[in-house]
Amino acid sequence: MATSTTAPGARPDRRDPRVGRPAPARARRPRRPRRSFLPYLLLVPAVVLELGIHVIPMLVGVWMSLLELTQFHIRDWSTAPFIGLDNYRATLNFHTAAGRELLHSFWITLLYTLLSVGLAWLLGIAGAVVLQRPFRGRAILRALFLTPYALPVYTAVITWSFLLQRDTGLVNHVLVDQLGLLNDKPFWLIGDNSFWSLLVVSVWRNWPFAFLCLMAGLQNVPDELHEAAAIDGAGFWRRLRSVTLPMLRPVNLVLLLVLFLWTFNDFNTPYVLFGGSAPEQADLISIHIYRSSFKTWDFGSGSAMSVALLFFLLVVSAGYLLITNRRRDHA
């Protein structure tokens, strides 16, 4: 999706060959296509779906954030009083408990996302590089690595929540009873450890996707480049840095953005792992918003938080794309 804006097709526009060129260049200009309605017609289904699935619900969300949409009004939204920006004032006021918790949740989520994406990417690139050369058992390892991605998220995360129970979980059984590494059984799902548990589960779930994308990307790196670099005396790390990674740049651009957005918005993992109300230390923003709207039946302020978050992600995504594009322009 993100690549479409940076598609190679856009290049001739920018480096306009016409400027300062002699007249014959004009002859190479492509013929102006005939006006036809067919392309537009073909776009209609996509546009309709796009409107119905993304744009309209989003606008409804924005509208909801301007209403006092509590249990008294959810049955008939037209009765909900229009309160303008009051929801934003209430939820984004960081002097109140609700605002402080939202801010806390925001920082937690940011940290969680950066760590999770970073680790998932590192594991992904390591796995992809290791499995690049054919060897016996490569196919089996590939399949094995992709298993977390193939499992249904609920099943996988529920299993994790069983593993991480304090008294009956396998993790403590191994760490405390079998290996004797710890004297006392720690909690994994409440308190400070809950953040790390969540991170581990998230990385476990996400890295196969990074692995898959990077593995595909590596197929496009010509062997000749590696060979040439090797002849020039480049070692493994040097080749990784100067050949593999630059060639993977287009893949990484998209991969990191998508992983970032997915992880930032991840709802299923914390919801299933912590059962609807996450501990403070792992109170991700998606769960926080869910609690603020569903559990307290205040959909207006929940929507206000969502819209604020939408705006944040919009800025981040746009900034990211701008920066990466500009770099590419100057490259």
């Binding site: 619900p57 819209v307 995504s317």
Partner: protein
């Protein structure tokens, strides 16, 4: 760069982030063609499957009598309120539902439930059929009830007879001080004194209410405004959490419990005491024989502070409500009438170990078993209804979650002090609008 590319980037960014606000309530398809009803039952038995086995024969009986088919769905407690809310919002969903009676006023405020005014009540047998205290917990005072009571429940103290005998304790505790003292004697090796469902907000909130009453606290003032962080409520919550934090008679692992593990712990002898509503049927399915445990009223404070009330349980129970969006209101009323009939009240309450919500069948010998006697006595003398205000369900969620976090603190060795309790309760109160 061209404006078009800016626009392109913006579009991509919007689309990528769009999924955030695009979450909506899920609405199940409405059942309502001809004479078919959809019924969401709450999870009363040991499991969803057990409930289906118990309820299906009764629904078949109803179909035989009236020709109305009832499609049953048993909804776990963790999902029930959300699903009801989604049904209320979308105007789609079941015809008849079970609701926790404490949610009555909250759901009533949505206007999605059929009002049981006198005429409607007449259609299900008349107002006088129902136990007054149970009917009072079916909606805000002064308004027609939003539901009718189906099963009545109260909290009781369950204790392991053998564990008590082994520890040389002859009678169940009647005060919290005794409970803490006995609990210490009973906590040995693999066994703990008291099992607590610490990660279940609703359980926590129910106890917060009863403790609050004993300390003379109220969670809402007379105008329906929250008063969560009064000194009385702080003491009440601290008393409850202290069973784990300072008395150390509860396994720290209980801070993780939200799937009735505390009942299992009690049934398996890992805990000697349990505060629960009609645990008997659940204990039976977990192979704990009825003579292995005793049932006693929930304790009180030895010296109640000024204003303290003699309340040791909420008026607990399950109500039955009809959604206004039903296309089969008459059939729905018919079904409610059937479920609250003498015969069904006897059969179902007997199976679930709860008490009938109608006056006419209380004399059945099944309801004078030791457990039911305690529940009956509690309900008629020392139980009080949770505040029937629209914000009640929010109270349960916010205060219950605050207590869950306090248990997490206690479990991980962080101190639970007056200040930390007060802060949690103040924060919860600030989130009320």
């Amino acid at each position: 760069m061209s404006t078009r590319r800016h626009l392109g980037i913006l579009t991509v960014a919007v689309l990528a982030a769009a999924s955030l606000t695009a979450c909506g309530g899920s609405g199940d398809d409405a059942g309502g063609s001809g004479k078919t009803l959809t019924y969401w039952a709450s999870n009363q038995g040991a499991s969803i499957e057990a409930d289906k086995t118990i309820l299906q024969p009764e629904l078949d009986k109803f179909e035989k009598q009236t020709g109305i088919k009832v499609n049953l769905e048993v909804v776990p407690w963790s999902d029930l309120l959300n699903k009801l809310l989604a049904a209320a919002t979308s105007g789609q969903g079941p015809d008849v539902v079970n609701i926790g009676n404490t949610w009555s006023a909250s759901l009533q405020a949505t206007g999605a439930l059929v009002e049981f005014d006198d005429a409607t009540l007449q259609a299900v047998g008349g107002k006088d059929r129902f136990v007054p205290a149970a009917l009072a917990a079916a909606g805000a005072p002064g308004k027609p009830p939003a539901a009718v009571p189906l099963y009545s429940l109260a909290y009781a103290l369950y204790y392991n007879k053998k564990a008590f005998a082994d520890a040389g304790i002859t009678a169940p505790p009647t005060t919290w001080e005794q409970l803490a003292e006995y609990g210490k004697k009973l906590s040995t090796g693999d066994r703990w004194g008291l099992a607590i469902e610490g990660a279940n907000p609703n359980e926590n909130a129910h106890h917060a209410f009863a403790f609050g009453q004993q300390y003379g606290g109220e969670w809402f003032d007379s105008s329906g405004k929250p008063t969560f962080d009064t000194p009385q409520n702080v003491s009440a919550v601290k008393r409850y959490v202290d069973f784990m934090a300072t008395d150390k008679i509860s396994n720290p692992s209980n801070a993780e419990y939200a799937q009735n593990q505390s009942v299992s712990d009690f049934a398996n002898g890992k805990a000697a005491m349990l505060l629960w509503q009609a645990a008997g049927s659940n204990l039976k399915t977990q192979n704990m024989p009825a003579d292995a445990y005793g049932v006693a009223p929930v304790p009180f404070l030895a010296t109640p502070p000024a204003g303290g009330k003699k309340v040791n349980s909420m008026v607990a129970g399950i109500n039955m409500a009809i959604f206004k969006h039903t296309k089969n209101k008459d059939a729905s009323l018919n079904f409610v009438k059937f479920m609250t009939s003498d015969e069904e009240q006897t059969v179902l309450n007997k199976t679930y170990g709860s008490l009938p919500a109608v006056k006419t069948v209380g004399t059945d010998p099944a309801f004078s078993a030791p457990e039911q006697k305690v529940l009956q006595e509690t309900l008629s003398t020392t139980a009080a209804p949770l505040p029937q205000v629209p914000d009640e369900s929010t109270f349960e969620t916010l205060v219950g979650t605050a207590i869950k976090e306090l248990f997490a603190d206690a479990a991980s060795g962080r101190p639970v002090t007056e200040e930390s309790v007060k802060k949690k309760l103040s924060d919860a109160q600030q989130k009320m609008r």
